[in-house]
């Protein structure tokens, strides 16, 4: 589904990302871990064509992301709050995204009803603009918005950060459900090794912009990761 070919990203002579080859098959649930500055967000941004790699390219569903925009209709992402429109209410935002993705109000409402638990009564009908919601609630909105319009690729940067424990548990279930769907490829980055080993079938460790580990998740994965980061 996603193929990274020889990409590097250099800022003023400082290389922050070097990936020779990385293939993420369709239906995979892919976890990305690494310390700050390891290049996780850079990789995701390049994947979304928000930054241009210095060399190499990325293909999404066989489409080079920097040459065509066809990938946009099958891809959804929530990287940070710049993916939210601060002056809309949650409902308005969901409907706006829905309209962009060819979903009418009823479709969106149907989808939202599945996430009432996850919203915990703090999102819908709040009489607040998104900018006035707490960071955690903003994240809930952003995550659910990525699910509108049946995307085939879902990219979530640090989805667990800022969430309360209950919501983290519910989010894990949501991501697991997505991962179970063979039509959906999920990409998640996280600082929390436990979460990511729980929801992802494959985990890649980035260190200073390079892939240093590429693991199929198993019983030992968590230990192996902890050992790696405890160096």
């Amino acid at each position: 589904m996603i193929a990274v070919q020889d990409i590097t990203k250099t800022y003023a002579g400082n290389t922050v990302l070097t990936i020779e080859h990385l293939e993420i098959p369709k239906g995979d649930s892919f976890g990305l871990v690494g310390n700050n500055g390891a290049g996780k967000t850079t990789l995701f941004s390049a994947l979304l064509d928000l930054i241009k790699p210095t060399t190499g390219h990325i293909e999404n569903n066989g489409i080079r992301v920097d040459q065509s925009e066809e990938w946009k209709s099958i891809t959804a992402a929530f990287i940070d709050e710049t993916f939210l429109i601060g002056y809309l209410t949650a409902e308005e935002y969901f409907y706006f995204i829905g309209e962009l993705r060819g979903q009418n109000k009823a479709d969106v409402d149907a989808l939202l009803s599945e996430f009432e638990d996850f919203f915990h009564g703090e999102i819908l009908g709040q009489k607040k603009y998104l900018r006035d919601l707490s960071k955690g609630n903003q994240k809930k909105v952003g995550i659910v918005a990525t699910l509108i319009g049946n995307p085939e690729v879902i990219i979530l940067d640090e989805p667990f950060a800022n969430l309360d424990p209950t919501t983290q548990i519910r989010l894990k279930k949501i991501i697991k459900d997505l991962a179970a769907d063979p039509a959906i490829t999920v990409l998640v980055s996280s600082h929390d090794l436990m979460h990511v080993t729980e929801v992802c079938s494959r985990i890649v460790v980035l260190d200073k912009g390079e892939v240093v580990k590429d693991l199929e998740t198993s019983e030992e994965t968590l230990k192996e990761l902890e050992a790696h980061f405890n160096k």
Partner: protein
């Protein structure tokens, strides 16, 4: 202690991402400031000689009559244009600074504002003339000036206080409009009551103490209200009020464009910064009065009619269009990852400007009072705006990479800049072409030929719509990464 604040300001200026464009803008603003200064000095000489020689009246007395309007307009301009003292306050709160230091720095910065010093360029030459030509005693002129300085600074601090109260300024502006109207039509003359005060500043030795005291009181009050509000849940808090979800389904008839149109309307309704474009277009609606009433001699030339027409009908177009796509800067990465056709996005902005221009034109029908030729100028201006300027404005906007922080307006100490002076300046070139066209028609044949020429140019402009949209799309594409990067830099 102040040294720290100054270095912080210095760094935030030189390290901001928009510096390169900001620097050019600052140079441009420099020219603008020089122009204003020259205008003030020339105006001061002009006014003095005009009153003295043409009207054979006492210049000081006449000026004193109109000073009330001078200072009220000063206040309105300050409110609309002057940036509030912005320093990044939150991180400073827990550092070992005295709160009073933070506040006095913020307030002290405003004292040196251009909006205060500009007055000197009018009143100093005027005072010199009073002494040299009018044989006024130096001492009294000095007293008069001190009083005026007091009033300028009263306004300065009053503006800071007013900035926290959204509705008060409309009340002030409304009152002035009514008083001005009553004065113009001869029902009630406020200046009869205020002129003695200004005259008193000149004649009575101690009266200057009143404006000085007012300024000090205004400073103390704003100082206190600032200090009191230096809490995260007070002045630094984001105010949120209950709001409700809107559907705006009636816009769906615009098809795909409606998705963005609905958003843009919410953008304007819900963000003070965006809302100011509406206020500006209303102001521009009245701008034509200066031209069509013939009250300002310099504007009597026929070519100025079309200039007025452009402004009257195009206030919104000029102030809003300039910042497409910057209005969407805070969520630009979202827009760039959604399945969006740039053309639909652009045409939504274009329709918004066209609708606003049509509305302004209808509202401007009041100018029929000054003869239908005046209104014809407005209509011609509107056609030119819709056909040509709407495209130029979007085109120019595509290069503007200054992020607009929509939310900052909600904070008590945030960037209160209601609209940008840049907007006004970038719009000047758009005035020149229609004026030249009109001049050709006017002087070669007749005024109507001039109007016709400008209108034809406007209609011809529609033909280039697709071409310009293609061009803008291309800019959006090639500048995409740079734009995303620039928008990421807050401030």
């Amino acid at each position: 202690m102040f040294k720290h604040f100054i270095t912080l300001q210095w760094k935030s200026f030189w390290r901001s991402a928009s510096l390169s464009s900001g620097l050019w803008m600052k140079i441009f603003m420099g020219f603008w400031a020089i122009y204003l200064i020259v205008m003030m000095v020339v105006g001061s000489f002009g006014v003095y000689t005009y009153i003295d020689k043409e009207l054979s009246l006492n210049p000081l007395e006449v000026i004193n009559r109109f000073l009330i309007y001078w200072f009220v307009f000063d206040l309105i301009f300050k409110y609309a244009l002057q940036k509030m003292p912005v320093i990044n306050i939150k991180p400073l709160l827990i550092l070992p600074f005295k709160k009073s230091k933070i506040v006095s720095f913020a307030l002290g910065k405003t004292v040196f504002s251009f909006f205060n010093s500009i007055h000197a360029f009018f009143f100093v030459p005027f005072s010199i003339l009073l002494i040299a030509e009018g044989d006024a005693p130096v001492f009294n002129v000095l007293l008069w000036n001190i009083g005026l300085i007091g009033l300028v600074y009263s306004n300065n601090f009053l503006n800071i206080l007013l900035n926290n109260k959204d509705n008060l300024i409309y009340f002030v502006a409304g009152t002035v409009a009514i008083l001005g109207g009553l004065h113009y039509f001869g029902y009630f003359d406020i200046t009869q009551y205020t002129a003695p005060f200004f005259q008193g500043l000149y004649e009575i030795k101690w009266l200057f103490l009143i404006p000085i005291a007012t300024a000090i009181v205004a400073y103390v009050i704003s100082f206190r209200s600032f200090i009191k509000d230096l809490y995260l849940d007070a002045g630094l808090a984001t105010k949120s009020k209950n709001i409700k979800t809107e559907n705006l389904q009636w816009l769906d008839r615009f098809g795909k464009t409606a998705i963005f149109l609905k958003n843009d309307i919410k953008l304007i309704k819900r963000n003070k910064r965006a809302r100011s474009t509406i206020i500006l277009s209303i102001l521009f609606l009245f701008y034509g009065l200066l031209f069509f009433t013939g009250s300002i001699e310099a504007y009597d030339g026929p070519v100025w009619k079309i200039f007025a027409g452009i402004f009257v009908s195009g206030g919104f177009l000029l102030s809003f269009g300039q910042f497409v796509p910057s209005w969407d800067s805070s969520y630009y990465p979202l827009m760039m990852t959604q399945n969006i056709r740039y053309r639909e996005y652009l045409s939504s902005k274009w329709w918004l400007m066209v609708i606003a221009t049509l509305l302004s034109t209808i509202l401007a029908s009041g100018y029929l009072y000054f003869g239908w030729e005046s209104y014809l100028a407005v209509i011609t201006g509107a056609i030119f705006n819709m056909g040509v300027n709407s495209h130029i404005v979007l085109w120019a906007g595509a290069y503007v990479k200054t992020p607009i922080d929509l939310t900052s307006n909600k904070k008590a100490f945030g960037d209160k800049q209601a609209f940008n002076v840049k907007t006004l300046m970038l719009s000047l070139p758009k005035m020149v072409l229609p004026m030249v066209l009109y001049a050709i028609g006017h002087y070669a044949y007749s005024p109507y030929a001039g109007f016709l020429l400008v209108a034809l140019a406007g209609i011809a402009g529609f033909a280039f719509r697709n071409m310009v949209f293609d061009k803008i799309e291309k800019i959006y594409r090639t500048e995409k990464y740079k734009t995303i990067w620039a928008y990421k830099q807050k401030k």
